[in-house]
Point group: D2
């Protein structure tokens, strides 16, 4: 079995086009650009349809990395998985998390499973497949492939599955209509939810969290069907799903560890504490000897029943601010408080990612 | 010395015009309408200049209470202090908190200081006085008067001073200009910050938290000058300041107790925990025998230096969503998580209310 | 045949709760409150789900008119048709238009048809009926009844049909689900479009503009089906449709005349000019002897194909500002320019009201 | 005297990063990239502080043009003047306008003055100079230099002066404070207005529209002081002013002509018609033989007195949508209607650019 060393670097940015932090780390030798597998980022946009900060960030990174890798910017975009989640509401702070992987011997004395990462992607979807069975089925296949790529065999060792998935635009809806087909929705904004939801259900199927007989009608309706580790973000720039599996593996030689918990609602403090504890960390400002927080990855959403622990929320009835922005701001405030930093990855739109109104929360710690 | 019993009732609302919860409690005898002194509310609006949910809520309450009190709606508005704070971002839940006061014997066996409430108001301000010394000086006088009304002599017993203060509109700026005077700002939105800031400085002066020699230029600049218990909200509907002092008093026969702490930044979990502890409560979902959370009152703001604990935030550079909405959402998420409920009073715009980027957090508990 | 005199009064407001202009006209005798049939207003809100300025305006008007009519505020709301359209983006100016009707002899020398008004309403709808056939069919019936009430027999004499229709909320969707039924959409915001669209199709059916065999699937899809005179606004405060028919009638003794045209897209200047000409008016600042503009009533929407006359617009992909706000602002700017005033009634969401991307525009002139 | 041929090309874009239209024209030979002097664009952002679509568009253009010019992207940004105006509200359509200039003989039979373009820039400003006299004085000098560059001697031949100017950020304000200086404002958003205003006053001084004795206090206060041809946009990416002068010159061999008028308020239809007529064009859909509209350049703003032709507007009291977005949407709707296209350059924030509430409107026509 191949053994690999996985690195995780959180780098603050000063804007969506800022690559200086990453380039400095490459310059200093802290990061070997050829080992970069994936970059997850939080950018300043609204996280909605017209959030151009995501593609701007990707374009800036590809342009900057191209000469380092001896590739064209386009080839860089094919080689590295970029997942930019727009929306740094409230105390959330724009940053990127760089994941590297290289072959490495596992040191003799190393004990326990360590952070491992794997990737895969689906075929391109037709607009009319987005948010429906085809997207679920293809995603499930790709999750299985990504687990294998990460040398993870037990689904219980998978702690976070990040997916980047497409959305519908006027043009894409029109293209489907021209073929005589209708799409799951005609609204670009709504399509983001459908795509995220179907992708998450694909994770749940792959990991055996739910049965595989999901119908189109279950998407965005059967909220009792969900994955506890899926995190999906839709973006305008692709038509297929990209899957990144993060978990712990006995074949990893990494100095990092990942764990997770599930927030049952948007104010589930014990779940966040539990996720921190799962990798040996405490609540800020408590320090833990030999362990250091690298980043937290969580999904947030407005509970679809309009209530949080019995009290009405107003996120879904707000025509001024989209509910995903509300939810990121609130959950971001909570997690930032417990983590002691706003530079955490809280992403909006948790359809079928954790229970309705809740979501997965994963923590990566560095062991020294 | 007069002894009084103070009651506190948190009532959920279904919209800014909803008075049904309060009227039901009056109908059942749980609340005697003649004892209502003040009503603090969180309404669904944006909390900005064009937030009409505040005046709508006040109008609805006055209309509903008028027949109960045998007064016209206008007279009800004069009699009861209404402070509506717009903005229930994220998990925050619209509700009102009703404060009642009636003369009462203090039971022989009652020990310790208990919740007391006092009120006062300033004269009307000219538009050119808003956000400047005149507002500071007059507010300080009124705070002292309100303390006396609450039978509180020691400033250390004051735990929350809620103030309702005016803002500038185009008309008001024009009126000042017509007199040959300029106003602190010509922007309606900015004027809300000036008015909140000067009012908070008035509290700090009254309670001896800072010296009284504040100049106009210190407002919104000298953020090291602040009150740890001030909470100020500006609204379009008045031209004077209304002051409500909440504290503990040996002459109170109330079954409630209040305490507070100061959040040093927007993610200060220990401060919220400390405020809960100050009235014998723990973090949700921990239950405390004999003690029950009634409500939490806190102020939130985007730190003016653009950072939270070293990491950049984007609240002040966001032209889509005002920074007060961001801050309420984030701090609301944090407090709701620790309190176990989104029905808390988190209000935006904490200029000179707590340190820059932080704010006061007060908790009221019921003792059974 | 009953002959009636219809009056139309445009009254500026200083806020959604401002009734002073109307009360002054009642005080001066200019308006007899007992003759008020309908009040159409433009209020300051976002025109979306959480636009409370509409219900606030209605509450303020009902409270103010109650003593004038010797009725309770609730009874006033039953007696007068209030249609508040939220959203005064750009140069649009908040105001109300008061329609009065009283029996009157038609003067011997009066020539031509004159402004007439009629009203009717449907039964309450179930949430699952909104945006579907039931709403279309019931609306068509009510339009026919309202025409009769207006003494209009020829559909060509109908120039504007204003409808107020319900929307879905989380609670209403849940109620339908509890009955085992699904609603046309689960999004409150989207439901406004469904309700407006089905209501407009009802008008088209009633006036013979389209055949009556509309299926549920045609709503928000078959945009070639539309009414040239329908204007529909959805609001949270009712579960039935209220219909107001405006047209010209030989039995009217009114000094007003109404005409209309159809904007084929959002920048259709000739259509607005044609609507003005249809009642003898020119483009501002041209004055027309003996004729005076009272108000313009128009519907605006973002063209669903994402283009205006071949050029891409960004309204439907904007997650910060809803497309209805964009469209009102743009069409409002155009009409205000041609009319010479921003105090015009431009309402958003023109689904099946005029061709896709366009909408009806009606003009009322006073003849002296 | 040098004679030059100036070209103007309007190119639609599909997003802020889209350069395909321009590259196709370069590929086909329609545009010689070495002759590109300036590119003015309308991008999809909010036009506010956090509008990253402007810098994204510039970055994309520089990256694409770099190999064509044999320069680095950074050198391209120095060589060509890029002015991106964010905000395509309502019917406005994202596009760029490319200005080229090359030496050319003026054909013998060519009559009249033709379109000419000139450029210049100021030194970098300190944050504390923005919005104050230094910015005015330096801008005036640079305008004079740009006129000379355009071979224009008579100020009456100048029809549009586009300026790109800096804004304040938290960091820049802090830097000024660290030097013991205060800035004109501490708000990033407000600083955009100050910078635009001072820059426009610089144009007015240079063209003799106003006297040169402007004091710091006049900026954003003395709205009777303005330029009829200034158009200024502030952006985060620079600290100096870039000036582009557009006018007609007898030494130009261009096939284009420019003219302008001044809108006295946001609904000034006759001014737009007059600007169209000044270059021989009529209102859409009227065609003019031998003349074709290329683009319209206009500035829009919410009138600071809160009224448009006597009627209250709500743009300045809106905390949800910034007034610049409102104004662009409304004026954009009006101009698009008269021009027959939404692909026009309407930019927000017209402080001291035209009279209060109005703004300049310039039209470029191609003569065939």
């Amino acid at each position: 079995m191949r053994t690999a060393s996985v690195g995780v670097f959180r780098v603050a940015t000063t804007g969506p086009g800022d690559v200086s932090g990453l380039m400095a780390m490459i310059g200093s030798g802290a990061i070997d650009p050829t080992t970069i597998l994936a970059i997850l980022g939080k950018t300043e946009g609204n996280g909605g349809v017209n959030d151009f900060t995501r593609e701007y960030a990707v374009a800036a990174l590809c342009t900057a990395l191209a000469p380092e890798l001896g590739l064209s910017p386009e080839a860089v975009e094919q080689r590295i998985a970029f997942v930019m989640s727009g929306g740094t509401e409230g105390v959330l702070s724009p940053h990127i998390t760089v994941f590297t992987r290289r072959e490495a011997e596992r040191p003799a004395g190393m004990s326990g499973k360590r952070l491992s990462i794997g990737m895969a992607h689906t075929r391109d979807f037709l607009p009319e497949e987005i948010g429906r069975s085809a997207q679920i089925v293809e995603t499930a296949k790709a999750v299985t492939a990504a687990m294998a790529d990460a040398s993870i065999t037990d689904p219980a060792d998978v702690h976070f599955v990040q997916i980047k998935c497409p959305l519908l635009t006027s043009d894409r809806v029109e293209a489907a209509n021209a073929r005589g087909n209708t799409t799951a929705t005609t609204s670009a904004y709504s399509s983001m939810a459908y795509s995220r939801g179907a992708s998450a259900l694909g994770v749940a199927v792959a990991l055996g969290e739910i049965a595989s007989d999901i119908s189109d009608d279950d998407v965005l309706r059967r909220y009792d069907l969900f994955s506890s580790v899926a995190s999906t973000s839709s973006g305008i720039e692709l038509m297929h799903n990209v899957i990144i599996v993060l978990g712990n593996s006995a074949s990893s030689a990494s100095e990092f560890e990942i764990g997770h918990a599930v927030m049952n609602d948007a104010i589930d403090v014990p779940a966040v504490v539990s996720a921190l504890k799962s990798v040996g960390l405490g609540v800020a400002p408590l320090a833990t000897e030999g362990r250091e927080l690298v980043n937290i990855f969580a999904k947030a959403e407005a509970s679809p029943d309009g209530r949080v622990r019995g009290f009405r929320h107003t996120m879904l009835e707000d025509t001024d601010i989209s509910s995903t922005r509300h939810a990121r701001a609130a959950v971001g405030g909570l997690i930032a408080g417990l983590a002691g930093t706003g530079a955490v990855y809280v992403s909006g739109g948790a359809e079928h990612q954790g229970p309705a109104g809740g979501g997965p929360v994963a923590v990566i710690a560095r062991l020294s």
